[in-house]
Amino acid sequence: MRLDQLKSVYGDALIDDPSKVTNPGAYDWFKTKDGTIFGVRNDHLSTNERRLLDLSFIPYAPKSLNRTKKQLLWARLTFNDTPPENTVQLPQSVNLIYFILKKFSNQHRDLESAIHSFFHNAYLTTIWKSSEEGIIVLKKEQDCSGELINLIMSDFYCDLFMLHVHEIAVSSLSRMYADHFSLLNKAQLLYPDQHDFQLIHLLPLMLLDAAQRQKNFDLTKWMTKFSELPHDLIKSVEIFFYHNFNLSTAANELYIHRNSLQYRLDRFYQITGLDPKKFKDALIISLLLDNQRYEQRIKDQ
């Protein structure tokens, strides 16, 4: 993908010089391999387009967003793999919270202040990948169990999605950040009601990603089979899993008789050969259902 091609797509929404704009926070910034920096207005970018640009170019953190020395140091270390001078002491490992903001109105400094107040002594810095995505760097693990999300929502009137990554070596930040952001982007698409994710809970997504990269492992046949299943069968299986395999409570939620649910689960088994009542099969069904939902969301976007 060349810059002139992008220009023909985005027109005036693409700027190839950060100094030309007074509101750099309204843009997502990238760097080409030859070092040219350009930005695309974030209201012109869908999640998929942002992901595509992330893969094709190097995300660039403009100085206007990472304004302090500490932020610039961590941004360069993470996004450009540029280690600081020898005189700067860095910890061996840190805890990270990747975040994506929605409907955020560019109060970056105030948001940093809120995050700092929340984590207090555990806080190192916040680095911005774009005006709506960033990483909170913490010295030690902090349990914030949704409280920060609600604080940010109520003080800044925006939505916040977070991915917690514990004890990551500073030397591997630049290698990991793109995958982690990609994972968080997928997670918030797949589970729009959930705002707080731990890396370990996204293992199914990572496994699916890895499986799909294997040329010899084609999920298409399975996905076609699942897509042809009646909606009530899929919903029944999902609710059955949600209720931890408890037929009675799942049937209650579905407003059907226990025997009707039993019948639907048997029918699912007959069609797919996967038995939702068996743990190992349930694990596979759950993965495939996640994949189906994710592909549907991508298609819809």
């Binding site: 409907k103 109105s105 207090h120 409280e147 604080l151 109520s154 800044f156 009137y157 925006c158 819809d300």
Partner: protein, 359 residues
Amino acid sequence: MASIVLNHIKKRYDNSDAFAVKDFQLEIKDKEFIVLVGPSGCGKSTTLRMIAGLEQISEGELYINDKKINDMAPKDRDIAMVFQNYALYPHMSVYGNMAFGLKIRKLKKSEIDQRVREAAKVLGLEDYLDRKPKALSGGQRQRVALGRAMVRNPQVFLMDEPLSNLDAKLRVQMRSEIAKLHRRLNVTTVYVTHDQTEAMTMADRIVIMKDGEIQQIGTPKEVYNNPANVFVGGFIGAPPMNFVPAIVSEVGVQINDHIISLPAETMDKLHAYIGKSLIVGIRPEDIEYVKSTEETAFTATIDVAELLGSESLLYINFEGNNLIVKIPAEDVRAGDTITLAFKSDKLRFFDSETETLIV
């Protein structure tokens, strides 16, 4: 102060066919306390988030004070939100917590100070302004969370299950505190909960939702006495309404071998159902414990008896149907045979297929 109109609001995620909220139609009056209640996944929080502006509205219009606000940024809607957990900055004082939202709005220090102290007075937090959240009780923390919303002087309060994290005793206490606060501030409030007791005790009007659809809108008394359908009857009230299948005859309804005679007025409304089946609904407290044998009485053996203090809950089997009966505390035990009667004016009749209220 504000009135809110949700006009045929629909929410669909990423153009999928399924609607998370379907044709939501509601007019909330100025100063009203509205409770959205329903099981998980019914669309109540999504509706609240659409009012807040955190969720895009797929179809329909949203008005606050006659102004269409579908595309207005959340921060410009003049609302304040209170959430399930306390949502406080742990290292800031109570004062700092309450002032923070105003500071980032760049209000003058004197104005912030005045608003924080006023809110603290209303909430009984004046003596705690210098304390950190960890030095407060659960109830005090929740009051600070309310204070953070109050200092904004919003047109509308949006509360998303604010009491769910509290223990049962504190929940009851905070329920009445929020109700008192609403009476004092008179701010239009939309409150989301899955707890029907909260809905019944706090709301001016309740909106009961299921699968993204409104099932019924009414005062707590209306929805309790005249549930629009079997779902509402089962969801509102603890224990829930009893439901029994029956056949309509010329003079009443027949539940297997038991016939309940009905007044002529009721029979007129059930005329189209003669010879057909329907569902009879009766609240547990509307089955009476009678000592004499009346025409409408029936006998049943108690499967389980639970003494709740001033009342007893009896689990009985009537004509093959399990029923729950709530009577004043009596010395009855499992295995006893007792005589009961339905209060015929309290019987409700639902269509067997649509499950909607007939009369």
